[in-house]
């Protein structure tokens, strides 16, 4: 149902109000393909996703500004390091968390190892990691879980 909304919405946006019959066909086909490739294991709370949007946008802006400041400053103030994040998130959600963190200020995921997400931090003294538990909570809420974070 959610996928039908998302994919149908994408079709409508791309084509406008023309080609509705074809749109229904294509949407049906892509929902079928999507469910086949990635069966729905967890509920997806779209309103939680929408709720997360303001934080995501704010993070995107501060992430971009931060990286721009460092790129233009003479000494760049880089102090890169690695973090391992363990959480109770299922595999797919951990990938989503990695993607999300890669767009947030100062953090970049490099996939997971033994169920732990490897995160590269641009400046270990700037406290970027303090935002991570909140991201884990938000992702867990989107798939209808209450998370526990073990930093």
């Amino acid at each position: 149902m959610h996928r039908a909304l998302l994919l149908g919405g994408a079709w409508l946006t791309l084509t406008g109000a023309e080609a509705l019959v074809l749109g229904v066909l294509v949407t049906g086909l892509s929902v079928w393909l999507s469910l086949r490739l990635l069966p729905a294991k967890h509920p997806l709370a779209l309103w939680r996703l929408a709720q997360h949007l303001p934080r995501f946008l704010a993070g995107s802006v501060s992430g971009g500004v931060d990286v721009a400041r460092r790129a233009f400053s003479s000494d760049m103030r880089l102090n890169p390091g690695w973090l391992e994040i363990s959480s109770d998130l299922p595999d797919g959600a951990r990938v989503a968390l990695g993607g999300e963190l890669s767009l947030m200020p100062g953090t970049l995921s490099a996939g997971s190892e033994d169920g732990k997400l490897l995160v590269h931090v641009l400046d270990t003294s700037a406290g970027f990691d303090s935002a991570i538990p909140r991201e884990v909570e938000d992702i867990a809420a989107i798939i209808g879980q209450t998370p526990k974070v073990r930093p």
Binding site: T13, G63, G64, V67, A68, L108, H120
Partner: protein
């Protein structure tokens, strides 16, 4: 008025694209460079899309700009960890 907003916002977007590129060149290792690219370009495209949105006639065109930005974000968020992973695997090779 709309034109001024477009000039300002797309100009700002270009600054972030330049920042991303400068970071790509100046940052010391692959992972830090990836930070610069993903975050700088993400914001750059966001501001350019926002600036272009002031030139649209219909909401459908705005929706399309949002879709473009959303898909680019999704791609950046997906590809950045993959590239980082590849770099990590490569650097661990004896």
């Amino acid at each position: 008025m709309a034109d001024i907003a477009t000039y300002l916002l797309t100009g700002l977007g270009l600054v972030f694209f330049i920042a991303g590129t400068v970071g790509l060149i100046r940052f010391p290792d692959q992972f830090s460079r990836l930070h610069a690219l993903t975050k700088g370009d993400n914001l750059g495209l966001g501001f350019i899309a926002l600036g272009v949105a002031f030139q649209t006639d219909t909401w459908a065109q705005v929706a399309m700009l949002v879709l473009i930005w959303g898909l680019a974000l999704l791609a950046a968020g997906t590809v950045a960890p993959l590239v980082a992973r590849a770099a990590l695997t490569e650097s661990r090779k004896p």
